[in-house]
Subunit: 155 residues, 2 copies
DNA sequence: CAAAAGACCAACTAAAATACTCGGAATTAA
DNA sequence: TTAATTCCGAGTATTTTAGTTGGTCTTTTG
């Protein structure tokens, strides 16, 4: 029941882009260094984010990444799902009402447990917008904490 | 971000015990067969449940397992944590307020995301009691669905 | 125009976690 | 005393995770 590094690194990367791409696109290598993530691994994560329409890129020298839309239009749920796949605690079609996989579906009681967990996770992350994280970060930076110490945090 | 078979099988096992141990203790082999779970794997899961004080056992012939307390006193959260370890989405001390691991803690913004997810999962499972699942199961059985088809459900 | 900076892509690999299996010892009812 | 059962520790196969490697395509800039 753990988020993988995909979700953890990826969210940090998006936040990094949100905070640093106002003037110009940020290069993968810059994010990787600032966040202490392997550049080639990060590449894969950003690819997912791009495919999901969360970030957009410009190639070539001076290229890099920016957000594809306003941070207030990007939910944390959207980001995490792009990176991790769905956030459901089990891969059970019934959770979303399908009838395919688990065909003894309507007598499956534990599925209500999974649905309950699923709903709570999704509503938690879908109601949290990237913009809120951006505001929080900026507020903390203003309190005199420099950018560098910011990036050392591993959570 | 998936529950492992430990949590899935284990919860089904506890529910099985709750539903079948009113007269006499249920043997591991019975649960395993009824739930289509490998007996020797299930053994390990039940051991965790026992250590957590959720089930209790009697050894020897005619032995088996019963619940260690009333189903209304056992939360689904308690069961899942016994099986899976904590349900936090990341192993980050700061999530619970500690100061040990992640020492750039107070400038770590993503931790609020993890805390939010963590809280929502835990409150969802802690407010759901085993007794509710038992009631639900019994209600479904009364509707004419036999015990066997019940156990075929994989969720 | 060349060369550096950068995104993009597809495989490959090492390590860790998961999902088991196996062999036996201790306990108890019949 | 024997069959049924829990209990225990170790071993293993498979899958997933967390990367790495080596290269191609694109764009700016000297």
């Amino acid at each position: 029941m753990k988020l993988s590094t995909k979700g953890r690194y990826g969210l940090r990367a998006v936040l990094d882009i949100a905070l640093h791409s106002e003037e110009e696109a940020v290069a993968l290598s810059t994010i990787a260094e600032r966040q202490s993530i392997s550049i080639s691994y990060l590449e894969q994560l950003i690819a997912k984010l791009k495919k999901a329409g969360i970030v957009s890129s410009t190639r070539g020298a001076k290229g890099g990444y920016i957000l594809a839309k306003a941070p207030s239009m990007i939910s944390v749920g959207e980001i995490l799902r792009a990176l991790e796949g769905n956030l459901d605690p089990v891969d059970c079609a019934e959770i979303v009402g399908g009838e395919t996989t688990c065909n003894a579906s309507d007598i499956c009681v534990t599925k209500y447990v999974w649905k309950r967990i699923s709903d709570s996770i999704n509503s938690a992350v879908d109601n949290l917008m990237l913009s809120e994280l951006v505001e929080e970060s900026k507020a903390r930076l203003k309190e005199g904490l420099d950018d560098k110490s910011m990036n050392d945090s591993m959570c």
